[in-house]
Subunit: 306 residues, 2 copies
């Protein structure tokens, strides 16, 4: 019998998303839960297993037709053994053998990786990074995560921890970062810092979406605001561009919706600071798959590992 | 007939080194010329061809027994076509098809690459990077060059320009760098800047070797001097360590002889600033092959491409 379906799971600090995909990675059904509605780690794991069962019964898919379950999690993972080291934004997760626990419950192969890596895989497979060999994918959110495609393959590094671009040090005595160090990129352009800066300029009720909309209408303060964020990000990226001679940098996450003002500023800073050949090569583009990139990446992981 | 010999060439701004190697990469003979003694590009190319002839006749090696000629040059190269884009420290070299020119003269296959890449290849093949999968090799000299081993293979990037770690920006308004930008790593720890800083402390006649010797005897000013350089270098490297989850950083070139004071400071800065898992993984070690690393790398290039 041909195995025809994949269940993909994107476990986030806010939402638990699940999707049923066919072999061609077309989505057949999706569910969304509030992650915090699960009171314990066990109930969350049970919730994932329950979603798998629910997809199978509602779509009359037999267990034999299921290729596997792919899960993206927001933290460091041993992708080979399926061990989740810890999840900074979901309490109670430390050294959890999620793959084994779920394989017992679901009776199908389970694959687990870090969410930024899966977003990277998805953007390279079918999104904005599709035609490029060497790519850095960034997600700009509360944290600044990332993943690297090197010679057309997801690059992992010795501990599957490669791609962490958020903790690039920008200044010896910069603002304190959540990681404990000072002056990390994330401490400058993580959502919390960006919104804090924005409120000083635009008042206490402004949202990032509103500043992006203003910038879209060429509001000078909004354009300047995003240009400043782009300059900081471009400064950090220019060193990476010189080092890795990348074909493209793909930027996703909330802030990536800021548009031209942000992207042009990033490009300008890279062309000033990176070496000429490398600066000329690299394209800086917005992610193509939107909020479902992690879910799609989880499905791709099952497909390419099966 | 088994091809048994390789000629390797390390073309530097100061010296032109040539070596005759056997298939096992044992050196049979070496020559050293002053690069400036060649009055023109043509005479330099003729000098290389002459060295090949000279090795063959002095060691009674027939042309048929020569696997090829490998050349490392101090600048950007298209390694596939053997086109030298330019050599910042050797006048008159711009878009020179060195491979073709030398193949006509020598009648054997010629391979050309950037010297920092060949040093990296050599350190990974038989030096300090031998047992590591993902490595950054640095050369600290007038310039700060580098090369990357990713998944056990020399990583080139889209234009064969990967590895340029010297132009990592450390500060927006830092000292002007030779590349035109401001605040590059090279503008802080290139030999010229280091010696300029040293003379302010140790007087106008001090050499870097002398400061290293003083540090070896625990002279507090010398230890502090190298610790400061190490802190700057470690600051830049910590971002790369978080990004690439490297197994090792191999440091060669003149300053690498500074010893413990330099290396411990680099390690300290990385363990403060890089992410914990990545900082724990990475070893920071001195290059193992010394001044002949480039020459050995050129021989290895011929061996693995033949």
């Amino acid at each position: 019998m041909v195995k025809k379906f994949i269940v993909a799971v994107d476990l986030g600090g806010t939402n638990l998303k699940c999707g049923l995909f066919d072999r061609n990675l077309k989505v057949k059904a999706k569910t969304l839960f509030n992650t915090k509605s699960f009171r314990s780690r066990e109930s969350l794991i049970q919730g994932i297993a329950g979603s798998v069962d629910c997809f199978l019964s509602s779509h009359r898919v037999s267990l034999n037709a299921l290729l596997g379950v792919g899960i993206g999690v927001p933290g460091p993972v041993d992708a080979r053994s399926g061990l989740v080291h810890f999840l900074p934004n979901i309490p109670g997760w430390k050294e959890v053998g999620l793959k084994k626990l779920l394989e017992i419950k679901t009776r199908v192969p389970v694959f687990i990786d870090n969410d930024a890596k899966l977003m990277t895989l998805a953007e390279h497979y079918s999104g904005a990074a599709k035609k490029y060999e060497n790519v850095l994918c960034l997600t700009l959110g509360t944290g600044v995560g990332g993943g690297l495609i090197i010679n057309n393959v997801l690059y992992r590094g010795g501990d599957n921890a490669a791609g962490e671009v958020g903790h690039f040090p920008l200044s010896e005595n910069g603002p304190r970062c959540g990681c404990g160090a000072r002056g990390c990129l994330e401490a400058y352009i993580g959502n919390n810092k960006i919104i804090q800066d924005a409120r000083k300029i635009f008042g206490p009720r402004i949202t990032l979406e509103e500043i992006s909309a203003l910038a879209g209408k060429n509001d000078p303060r909004a354009v300047e605001f995003w240009a400043k964020a782009g300059k900081t990000l471009g400064f950090a990226l220019s060193g990476i561009v010189s080092l890795l001679n990348l074909d493209a940098i793909v930027i996703g996450g909330g802030i990536s919706k800021a548009g031209k003002a942000l992207f042009e500023s990033i490009r300008r800073e890279i062309s000033c600071r990176a070496m000429a050949v490398q600066a000329k090569r690299v394209k800086v583009v917005r992610a193509g798959l939107g909020v479902d990139a992690g879910l799609i990446g989880a499905a791709i992981m099952v497909k390419i590992n099966s």
